[in-house]
Amino acid sequence: MSDIGAAKERKRELNLGGQTIRILPEELKAGGIIPQRQKGMVTVRFAAPGGRVEAKHMAKIAELADKYGRGYLHFTFRQSPEIPFVRLEDVEALVAEAGEVGASIAGCGKRVRVPTACAGCEYNPNGLVNTQDMARESYERYFGMDHSHKFKLSFSGCPVDCARARENDLGFQGQVEPYLNPDNCTGCSLCVQACQDDALYMDPSIEGPRTKRGMPVRIEEQCISCGDCIKACAFDAMLPQRTGNAVYSGGKHGKHPHVAYPIAEFVPEEKVYDVIEAVMAWYRENGKKGERIGVTIDRIGINSLRRALKDVIGEYLLQQEDIEKPRWRKVFFHGVADALPEYEQV
């Protein structure tokens, strides 16, 4: 994709930051330097993909906050540390000093922002997928690319969705599908207790080598793929069948919030970047200037985006019969699922 290459060039320019600072607000914001209400003062925002900052970068950023700011940092709602109250004339020196240890500044404006993510499966007990790797990798690949409007990516490790996949332009959320190995099940019913979605019940009539109390049965259309039953089972009887990512697009918050459309499920990590590129290509082709992708989808239709994704993740795309199931209806605010348009078979 040639425009991705071009955007990467621009991105490198942006990362150099301090070289040719101009006072145009949009230019400043492109490099994560945000004009303040106080004349001649800016806030300098650093990139922390997935909310992760190397300790040595953080130590340097803290030192710079003492030297050029007012001795404190602020964390943005998208996990980036920023130094308020930097004098414009100090920006170049600050960015250069940060660059010496490898800390780079974040971007604002109408482009791909620094991706956000929760801890994910690396160390969060609920995590099902490696959100941190995906946030880092998508930052390296896409950060700073120009679009019709801002483009926010986020990665949540499980359906708890701490990283708000449904409130981002393109959001991913870990999921797991459980299956039962009847040879190991003791019929203890811990899994039924663990399930908060009424997706499991005990059938006392099912027999097996280790149980006299029956076995659990999963109601697929109620299951939200959280994996709590797998984690509760102490006997290796409830196990992961497949793990992947739910995909949402078109979400945003702000003055005019927009809930994302559910797009796909169980998309494997290696296909995530294909999805990001295909969605961005569709947005480039269809998005009007100043229009977030959610509004583009409203205007052109979700089925256009779904068709564009068919070659990329056809087998994982959600169809009308899927979004009518409780498992998809109940993961949105009450009433939102009623407003979803008809998903054509693609």
């Binding site: 007990p125 003791t186 203890c188 019913s189 811990l190 207790q193 663990a194 908060q196 280790r210 149980t211 006299k212 109390r213 709590d228 984690k231 509760a232 089972c233 102490a234 006997f235």
Partner: protein, 83 residues
């Protein structure tokens, strides 16, 4: 019952009914810390939320649950300490 832990005698028993998450697990962990490898701990936890949290935390700590049983409104777990 056909569980592996049937008839085994626990070195310690904790009734954690009415003890909320995560205190129930903290007490479980402290009790396990006090046991020798291979010794058994019996705990009773409330149904619902504790059943979602305590067994997984016990597993994450590397211990093994030998038996889990619904005793009506609560669950009895038999845990073997793994060092």
């Amino acid at each position: 019952m056909s569980e592996a832990g049937e008839g085994l005698k626990p070195a310690k028993s904790l009734d954690l009914r009415g003890t909320p998450c995560p205190i129930n697990f903290v007490k479980t962990k402290l009790a396990l810390d006090g046991l020798a490898e291979g010794e058994l701990l019996e705990i009773i936890i409330d149904e619902g939320e504790p059943c979602k949290n305590v067994p997984r935390s016990v597993k994450d700590e590397g211990h093994k649950i030998l038996e889990a049983e619904d005793i009506g409104g609560a669950f009895r777990l038999l845990i073997v300490k793994v060092a």
